[in-house]
Symmetry: C2
Subunit: 344 residues, 2 copies
């Protein structure tokens, strides 16, 4: 089969690799129907050191179960299933607390010996704990929407949940990438009535408005902070959803958060140390968020996706075949595409 392998910065290739087979009795093999490229894939695409053998990449996919190991009971051949962006047993002490990203038997797609999602098929470890069965559909829009449960919409939801977003909270979303827009949609779904979106790409912030943003702030840094404060009686917002990952974005978060509020981070931090001294302490600011346990959220989010209450698949603005994956990376890195859908 064909699958995507990354060899270093800017070096993504689609290659023939062995067909996946059941190895453990808890495995399933899934034929990928839809996959996609994540903003976080762009970090190795920007900076990975050259590797002789490369590694598989892609961590978002849905597809049809092709085979199951002898221990697998929750899905069967022919089922349409979605995989969260990490695999997990869903029974360990962390999984039962809803933190499948810390599963003691879990791991990442693309780890040594584990397939990536940007390929034609995937061996899924811990299939019972990982895969969520979906109703059969061949509808393009619905498949795109369901695929976002794998990562981007679940991540936006995690960001909003950890920040305590509800009908009484005002919200600032930092970043107009696919995760930022998903965070807008998630905040709106959780009842937020005032959602300020900080971003400067009009096509993206327009979608943000359709998702629920009430205000768009194109300015950054001190000017952006001043705008948010101006729009919130000088107070800032209860929740700040930081969907970028740079120190500058985190510092903007500090600038716009209301005393007693939370900065929830889902952009992978590109920094080691951050300003968490007395100003944050005096104002009782909470810093929260992290890698989203998508598996925990899928059952809750699925009904609203299926009945069209939310349409998170709108973050995809380009669809490609498996052989065009390298072009897809380039388009996202050059900001010519917001998020690229792959039909293998």
């Amino acid at each position: 089969m064909r699958a995507t392998v990354i060899y270093g910065a800017g070096d993504v290739r689609v290659e023939e690799v062995p067909e996946p087979k059941i190895v453990e009795p808890t495995d399933a093999v899934v034929r990928v129907v839809r996959s996609c490229i994540c903003g976080s894939d762009l970090w190795p695409y920007a900076g990975m050191k050259p590797s002789e053998h490369g590694r598989r990449i892609g961590h978002e996919f849905l597809g049809i179960v092709e085979d199951t190991g002898s221990d697998v009971t929750s899905v069967k051949t022919g089922d349409l299933v979605v995989a969260p962006f990490v695999y997990s047993d869903n029974t360990c002490q962390f999984c039962v607390e809803g933190l499948q990203t810390s599963c003691v038997h879990g791991g990442n797609w693309g780890d040594p010996g584990v397939d990536g999602g940007q390929g034609e098929a995937v061996r899924v470890p811990q299939a019972d704990g990982t895969l969520v069965k979906l109703p059969a559909t061949e509808d393009d829009d619905m498949l795109a929407a369901l695929l976002t449960l794998s990562d981007v919409f679940s991540t936006g939801h995690h960001c909003a949940v950890k920040a305590g977003v509800n009908a009484r909270t005002t919200v600032t979303v930092i970043g107009d990438g696919a995760v930022g827009l998903s965070a807008v949609l998630a905040a709106k779904r959780l009842g937020a009535e005032r959602i300020l979106l900080m971003g400067r790409h009009t096509a993206r912030t327009d979608l943000g408005r359709e998702f629920g943003a009430t205000d768009v702030i194109a300015d950054r840094g001190d000017e952006g902070i001043a705008k948010v404060r101006e729009l919130t009686s000088g107070e800032g917002t209860h929740a700040v959803l930081e969907c970028v990952g740079t120190l500058a974005a985190f510092e903007m978060g500090i600038g716009v958060v209301r005393p007693g509020g939370s900065i929830s981070r889902v952009g992978v931090p590109q920094y080691k140390d951050g300003p968490i001294g007395r100003p944050l302490f005096s104002a009782n600011i909470t810093i929260t968020g992290g890698v989203a346990p998508a598996r925990q959220y899928i059952p809750e989010l699925l009904p609203d996706v299926l009945d069209g209450k939310v349409r998170p698949g709108r973050v995809f603005d380009r669809t490609i075949g498996i052989d065009e994956v390298p072009d897809g990376y380039r388009a996202m890195a050059d900001r010519k595409a917001l998020k690229v859908l792959v039909k293998p």
Copy 2:
């Protein structure tokens, strides 16, 4: 009257100052019955730059209302009242959310024009919002217990509440000072069954055990972290109550917190930047806490103090008169006293 004035590092004096009088119609004047010295008073005692005029100090007190302004309705002359460690109107947008430490009309004891708590009497701004009426008592132990509502026990409680402590959470308390011990007591009161106390002063950790600590870890740094992990199946604890304020203590917190857990800080941070990069993000660690809105918690904690269910006044291990306040500072700075009670 006599009151405590700090002029610089190591320079605390008790001096004659003008008797407080009603200035605003929202003021009350309170004759102090009990006051005390706080661990946070030791920071200026250690490092304040010399000041020609000095400033009033002390932010924990209870006493008898002596006079009230014309707008004050909730307390009257003769009432025994406790003051939280900041004053607040208790009606602004932050106060109604339970964050009286960010009150738009609030402020600190010892601010210019505002009395400190370590004196014979105090003019209390925003008396209706600030003071909480107590049942009359002259019992020494009860007065000591009630005084802790002003700061130290409320602060321990805030630390535990912000970390989400309940019957299902394991807890590490970092620091065996009066706040750390109060955090142990607060965590126990909230139902925690496993409370690990990190501290090395046996007299203090013994009281910690009486307050509810199930394990005491005398080691610090990597050794302390290893001990906590050894005691928790390698996982660390859900809640970490950081009651010191140094970067080393915060880093210990990172070392002992469980994935998905919280580090709640109530020790005033003596650092500007801290390690909040990828390891915290990957493990979904929340950093929370801050200056405790004691005013919010007093009504909830008061019944348990009055009926003796909790005895937070046991953190006081020395009682002095107003003229001995400079000795009290020395004793606490030299760690010869845990927390010093002042009977003016």
